[in-house]
Point group: C2
Chain length 200, copies 2
């Protein structure tokens, strides 16, 4: 767990434990007392809300290394269901222990604070991105956002996943990448590495 900041901060708490879930298994239900917050060691968790008529909304998808239900730190009960989308291993941190450490340890607190603030920033930029009409332009902006100082982007997971993050079909994503390369706006270094040429 290199990129799981929750694990780094709280794994040594009393009562912290690893739980294994089968695909579809339920971690907690709406209304349950919010005693734990989580991070995904391996697999994928979904926050789902169900209506009487059976329809469902997915409120959040957490992949490996991501925290889950951390908003539950500040509410007495879970406001939706937590389920495993795949076979999943999940770290469970006792809510009270986490809160106590946040209260007593300024360094830890700052880490969590700045992480949250960064998350808000990132999510907002993704949302604004979705406002971009053209799919190709959307991909272009996204790449610019992800690029480091040198205009380099290294995708960590299969490209399909990023198409989903951008809210488009994977075919569209591939086509957009091809178009951008054809137009000389980006350069493809290898399967998962790109460089933005007309950069900031």
């Amino acid at each position: 767990m290199d990129n799981d900041y929750f694990y780094a901060l709280f794994s040594d708490l009393d009562g912290c434990r690893l739980k294994r879930l089968k695909k579809g298994e339920v971690l907690f239900q709406q209304g349950d007392s919010a005693d734990y917050v989580f991070s995904v060691k391996q697999g994928e968790l979904r926050a789902m809300r169900y209506s009487r008529d059976g329809s469902a909304i997915c409120l959040h998808t957490a992949g490996e290394g991501e925290s889950f239900a951390s908003a539950a730190l500040f509410t007495p009960s879970y406001h939706c269901n937590g389920e495993a989308a795949l076979k999943t291993e999940v770290w469970c941190y006792p809510r009270e222990g986490v809160l106590a450490r946040l209260d007593s340890d300024p360094d830890c607190r700052n880490r969590v604070f700045s992480q949250l603030a960064g998350e808000v920033r990132y999510l907002r930029s993704l949302l604004e991105l979705r406002g971009t009409v053209s799919a190709t332009e959307r991909v272009h902006q996204y790449l610019k956002l992800q690029a480091d100082g040198k205009g380099l982007i290294r995708f960590q997971r299969p490209l399909v996943n990023y198409a989903r993050e951008l809210g488009m079909a994977h075919e569209t994503f591939y086509r957009a990448l091809a178009d951008l390369e054809k137009d000389g706006v980006i350069e493809r270094i290898d399967k998962r590495q790109f460089r933005v040429l007309s950069d900031l």
Copy 2:
């Protein structure tokens, strides 16, 4: 300022002040030392990033009562430009004063924490919503999210704004509302109030 939690918590800090901006005026520039965080009293602020080629990305739009550049609390300098999209009045809070209060006042800290956590939750649900293909269904889900326990939604601003939040043309938004009403899924109480009938 009823719904401006930043103002409620920090308006009495030393060095806090109100600034008036004309449309297009710049509040701060990328690279400037991040000495202030903000909230919008009236008008609209945008976080913009510009490329050499002149193209721009909007990373965030903050309306009345919303905080702005709060992530700057944890970075030494601003990472983008802050500009007024309209004639705007903005509260400026000295970064150091805010940080000091966060450190010393547990209640204040908890308010900010839970506000941030709630924001993350809300933004994520909006993002997932964008994944919904059908525009009409997207509006339906959005209304369900916004509805109170009784299924009631009261829009505060002109409906056009919400179309933007959902990432669709306002015409599409109106049509979706009309369709949902025709199908008996929602009920229109008046110009800005709706009720979801097939509720959770």
